[in-house]
């Protein structure tokens, strides 16, 4: 661990004092479970190419710390992978799946691209707004449960219209089904699911 810390310090010096201050104060820690996953991820790449693990590890950080990436979560990722903070920040800001602001417990992402639009994604967006009381995108509902985002094509076009909630796809939707899925999530019931792709094992 001592050498790791030294390397981090060296890396931090390259990007200036402001970052250094922040990097020393991430104040967060990965859980044991996540740490085991990180170790598994790192094994996939050549030893000197650990930066390759950045995107998967950022996703783990996002999942662990409330569904979004705070500065601290990005700091922690930088420390863990011996990367300068700016490398982590530029990747976090580039990719759509990284949320840089807090989101609700359920991040409802409705695809409104062409195939979904043709098959009625407008009604799905309206249904989500109706159920959650959200007026626009990127807001958090009053009960802190939901955030709505209209997203680009999620690659399930033949099962349109569809939405993704956290890691899972819900496809072949109509208004009633959408309302029911949200209601089940809110009440903690099992969700009726048209998609037969159940995760069999954690992907990481």
């Amino acid at each position: 661990m001592a050498t790791t810390a030294k390397k981090t310090q060296a890396a931090i010096k390259m990007v200036g004092p402001e970052t250094q201050v922040r990097a020393n104060h991430s104040g967060l820690e990965f859980s044991k479970e996540t740490e085991a996953k990180i170790k598994r991820i790192l094994k996939r790449y050549p030893e000197e190419q650990s930066q390759s693990a950045l995107i998967p590890v950022l996703k783990l950080a996002q999942d662990e710390f409330g569904g979004w990436l705070s500065t601290s979560a990005m700091q922690l990722t930088a420390e863990r992978l011996n990367l300068p903070y700016i490398r982590v920040y530029e990747v976090a800001t580039f990719y759509t799946m990284f949320n840089l602001d807090p989101v609700g417990k359920y991040h409802v992402q409705v695809c409104t691209n062409c195939s979904c639009m043709i098959r009625g994604s407008d009604a799905i967006v309206e249904a989500v707004k109706e159920y959650t009381g959200l007026k626009g995108q990127h807001e958090i509902s009053d009960d802190s449960l939901f955030t709505l985002t209209e997203v680009e094509c999620l690659g399930a076009c033949v099962e349109a219209p569809m939405m993704q909630i956290n890691n899972h796809y819900y496809t072949k939707l109509d208004k009633e089904q959408t309302l029911q899925i949200l209601d089940n999530l809110k009440k903690g019931n099992e969700v009726v699911d048209a998609t037969p792709t159940k995760p069999m094992k954690d992907s990481y």
Binding site: N113, S115, I118, V158, Q164, T197
Partner: protein, 429 residues
């Protein structure tokens, strides 16, 4: 003329509809992994020559001959490793074939990666899966684990002396990472911005090592071609476009779905015989996007005669792309669809080249004005002019793919834009 449907034996993806067992037992029952040992014992140069003869063309959109691409790879020099990278960053609107391969028939890809790595002298292969395919990548990971346990992966596979390891890498939501050099950047843990070519990935790819990147479908099709031979493969489709192909038919059809069919099938047959026909009947057809959002639309008149292969669609001024057929009937607001596609490209531009970063957004804003009724007739010409100034002026083909559909829509459906503008001028006095 009708094209006979593929028999189950002739299909590469026998479980594409998800009705059977996706796991290794089901795959072996369907003939999978049979003859793998023989393929691994054969010299790679024999395989690559056969692939050249099969005229297999890349299924990811560009249609580059796979055998030729693979022949560019140098022999491993013992210093730098060779890599095979599979592009499963499927994100072109309309395209969803790789998703069904990953979740319903993942072992076709695993076997393809094993054979591909052998052909290219790679000991390690990466499969870059788009981050949103979380459940699908879980399936794939399980399939890889099953293959390892069965002795199809790892060191000295079935006593042939071939070592192959495969790893799944999840992205995080960026369409541009489907561009092969952007994908490599992303796999290296950076922003997914395309590299300037040359050097090409075969010389300087992942971590600066020789690398070949292929689409999921392409890689999965390699073992059946090598096992069954070119005569089998070339009986499907026309000269230079041979083989079987997955067509993703979505939009205004009665039974949307992914269908594996012979190449060079007619568009009408594909829609009528496979996808249950256009909603409201063939006469209710307005337009079709034949190969994903980057390919220009076909007018209804062209749809009557369109042949679904690389050359057939090129002759109609569009392309096969990923064979993602998006059907629009007369109830569809075609201009809104086009504006939505432009918005997509504005959102997904990586921002590296100025013509794309600024221009694609400009076109999207013009498009939004036009459908909102704020546009003028002069702006139609201006929009066309802007598309021409972006096309061909950037590092990668993203901007071209963003501009061609706009040009195509202006060519075939200019009257719709004009009608909309005139209606609004009338309404606003």
């Amino acid at each position: 003329m009708t094209t006979p449907k593929l028999s189950i034996d002739d299909k590469v993806f026998k479980n594409l509809d998800g009705s059977g067992d996706w796991g290794i037992k089901g795959y072996e029952k369907r003939g999978g992994y049979k003859g793998l040992k023989k393929l691994l014992k054969t010299d790679p140069s024999v395989h690559i020559d056969q692939l050249k003869g099969s005229a297999l063309r890349g299924r990811g959109g560009a249609g580059f001959p796979t055998g030729l691409k693979w022949s560019f790879m140098p022999k491993p020099d013992g210093i730098k490793p060779n890599y095979l990278v599979c592009n499963a960053d499927e994100g072109e609107p309309g395209t969803c074939k790789d998703r069904d391969i990953l979740r319903y028939d993942p072992h076709t890809l695993v076997e393809g990666m094993i054979v591909g790595c052998h052909c290219l002298g790679a000991k390690v292969g990466y499969i870059y899966v788009r981050g949103e395919y979380y459940d699908e990548s879980s399936r794939l990971n399980q399939a890889i684990e099953e293959a390892r346990k069965a002795g199809y992966l790892g060191k000295d596979i079935q006593g042939t002396g071939v070592d192959v390891e495969i790893y799944v890498h999840l992205g995080a939501g960026a369409y541009i990472c489907g561009e092969e050099t952007a994908l490599l950047e992303s796999l290296e843990g950076k922003k997914g911005q395309p590299r300037v070519k040359p050097p090409f990935p075969a010389g300087y790819g992942l971590y600066g090592c020789p690398t070949t990147i292929n689409n999921v479908e392409t890689i999965a099709q390699v073992p059946p071609i090598l096992k069954k031979g070119n005569d089998w493969w070339c009986q499907f489709g026309r000269e230079n476009n041979h083989g079987t192909k997955i067509f993703s038919v979505s939009g205004a059809v009665n039974l949307p779905g992914n269908f594996e069919a012979p190449m060079s099938i007619s568009l009408k047959e594909l829609i009528d015989e496979y996808a249950g026909g256009v909603i409201g009947g063939w006469d209710n057809l307005q337009a079709v996007i034949p190969g994903g959002s980057s390919t220009p639309m076909l007018s209804a008149a062209n749809c009557n005669t369109a042949v679904m292969d690389f050359d057939g669609l090129r002759d109609l001024g569009t392309g096969l792309g990923t064979a993602a057929v998006i059907v629009m009937n007369k109830d569809t607001d075609l201009l809104r669809v086009m504006a939505r596609i432009s918005h997509f490209y504005k959102h997904e531009s990586c921002g590296q080249c100025t013509p794309c970063r600024e221009g694609v957004g400009w076109v999207s804003r013009l498009m939004d004005r036009l459908i909102a009724g704020e546009g003028t007739l002069e702006e139609l010409d201006q929009m066309y002019d802007v598309t021409k100034k972006i096309e061909g002026k950037t590092i990668c083909a993203f901007a071209d793919g963003a501009m061609w559909p706009v040009q195509g829509t202006l060519k075939h459906f200019r009257h719709l834009f004009e009608e909309r503008i005139k209606e609004n001028m009338k309404a606003n006095g």
